[in-house]
Amino acid sequence: MLSIKNLHASIGGKEILKGINLEVKAGEVHAIMGPNGSGKSTLSAVLAGREDYEVTEGSITFNGKNLLELSPEDRAREGIFLAFQYPIEIPGVSNVNFLKTALNEIRAYKGLEPMEAKDFLARLKEKQKLVELDGKLANRSVNEGFSGGEKKRNEIFQMAMLDPCLAILDETDSGLDIDALRIVAGGVNKLKSKDNATIVITHYQRLLDYIVPDVVHVLFNGKIVKSGPKELALELEEKGYDFIKEEVGA
């Protein structure tokens, strides 16, 4: 589904990603861990097409298409969803209106008619339940005045509504209380299928108890320096990143 080869990206002339290689297949869950500033959010921003970053080398193929040639909105329409580490507020625009616009734009791209109002409402209800989102939040302006945890939950709600092919969750667990973590993770698991894939970026192995990854990658200084089974996350939690530094001789 996703194939990243030797990806280099920089911002303001400063290289952040220094040769990333990553293969994600349909049905898989990949976890990416790594110290602060190692480039995790940068990688997700580059995948989503944020223009501030310049890709200087390498390639990204997504479902057979050259992702780097697509605009951010087309990437989203092709099925890439990014749950932001810091979700953005849009005052005056209701969540419902926002999602309706997004959903219908994605449908239009696929040559589909806008969704019928009643189908849309039904879907809204169903997905709201899935992530146990308060009905009031759905009607409020996008993320405006939401608590940190509510914003994160809203990201997963949007993901459920838009039904992406590849979801990238950038520290969706941070800021969630224990119950919310369980609910959000449960939601992600329910949305999992053999046709879609998830990349989970996290600092805590706790989340990986709920969303069990097929592979764990360690991103360090712009490179994936180690990949392994889910036990790698445990090891990291125990030993910290120092042993990785030693291993890669940094």
């Binding site: 989503a48 990437r75 999602l99």
Partner: protein
Amino acid sequence: MANEILEDQIGGEYKYGFVTDIEADNAPKGLNEDIIRFISKKKNEPEWMLEYRLKAFRYWLTLEEPHWAHVSYTKPNFQDIIYYSAPKPKVQLNSLDEVDPELLKTFEKLGISIEEQKRLSGVESRIAVDIVMDSVSVKTTFKETLSEKGIIFCSFGEAVQEHPELIKKYMGSVVPYTDNFYAALNSAVFTDGSFCYIPKGVRCPMELSTYFRINASGTGQFERTLIIADEGGYVSYLEGCTAPMRDENQLHAAVVEIVTHKNAEVKYSTVQNWYPGDKEGKGGIFNFVTKRGICLEDNSKISWTQVETGSAVTWKYPSVILKGDNSVGEFYSVAVTNNYQQADTGTKMMHLGKNTRSTIISKGISAGFSNNSYRGLVRIAKGASNARNFSQCDSLLMGDKCGAHTFPYIEIKDKSAVVEHEATTSKIGEDQLFYCKQRGIDNEKAIGLIVNGYCKEVLNKLPMEFAVEAQKLLAVSLEGSVG
């Protein structure tokens, strides 16, 4: 439907920039007493009207153009303007068949279908329209339906002929010709406009609307609107305006007066879309307008709602004098400037009566190299006990070459007053846009969504038909301003 709107937006150019090829009956260029006599004669006016004009003109001659607004432009040459231009032939239009087909085409392009209006007239219709092209009113619809209720809705010129007692009583009672430079000019040379009178206890059953169109080149448009709601009366009034794209600057200097008697209410909504000039700032309308209402008696209410997207330079402060006790004044405004547009707009709320309340919500949006200023005055007179005002002035910046300014003035002469003022300035963020795009929404739609969200409180005040129009307009005006 949604796609059509989208295509419209992507088109992005000023949609109303066409010129209608209609023969016009023009006055010679220039301004002097003879020109004023010419206009008055053309309009077959009574002597008192001519006298009023001449008095205003003589006063105007003693004035100098105001400089205090935060705008800069080349002064219009008042001798280089045509003060009267009428589409020919000027006939009393009694049926649709008499309307010049070129005019009909114009209306269709403007999205005003008289056919449609006519078709609806038997059934449930919601908007009556008065259309003013250059200097004259060319068509007023639904006059008969309205007159059954005693409502007078006609061109200003007609009102001078048919209802001189009302004109004499109210004209200049809110905006005297001595008020300011452009009000004096207007009082001297105004050519037409709309007049509306709502009798005692009548709620106007439909929206009344005036559509202003500048068509001829080299002309100025100087119209007057006078709206009176007698005791317990109610009317919602809409104003729209467009002009062709021309390299020259054309002057629009209008006067609008509103009077509400006891328990009466007038809602006045404007979608101002005069030609703003091109991307380099060439051409466009100078929009110097005096709009004021007076809540003359107790428990009456006046609200101004405006969506300002057009004009090269705008200078306009729709205001309310709250004279009657318990009267209410409201001002809801969205002002958009892009490219080299300049707007200095806001309101004045003058509290004279007891327990008077006013609300000001102003949303400025600046893009390109434009300048957008809010200027507002809240004055609480001595004896206006328990007066309250709430003001909120928000500015939204798109890009970093534009300017937003707020000039709030507050004068409180009564200790019991409660005045609150809030102001914010924000930038339309790359982050917000990227967030939308990441959800599959393209740049244009994203800007539309964000801007409409920002203006929601104001747009909500507009009548339905206008709100949709205004939303589209906002998106078009900001075309290409970010990203």
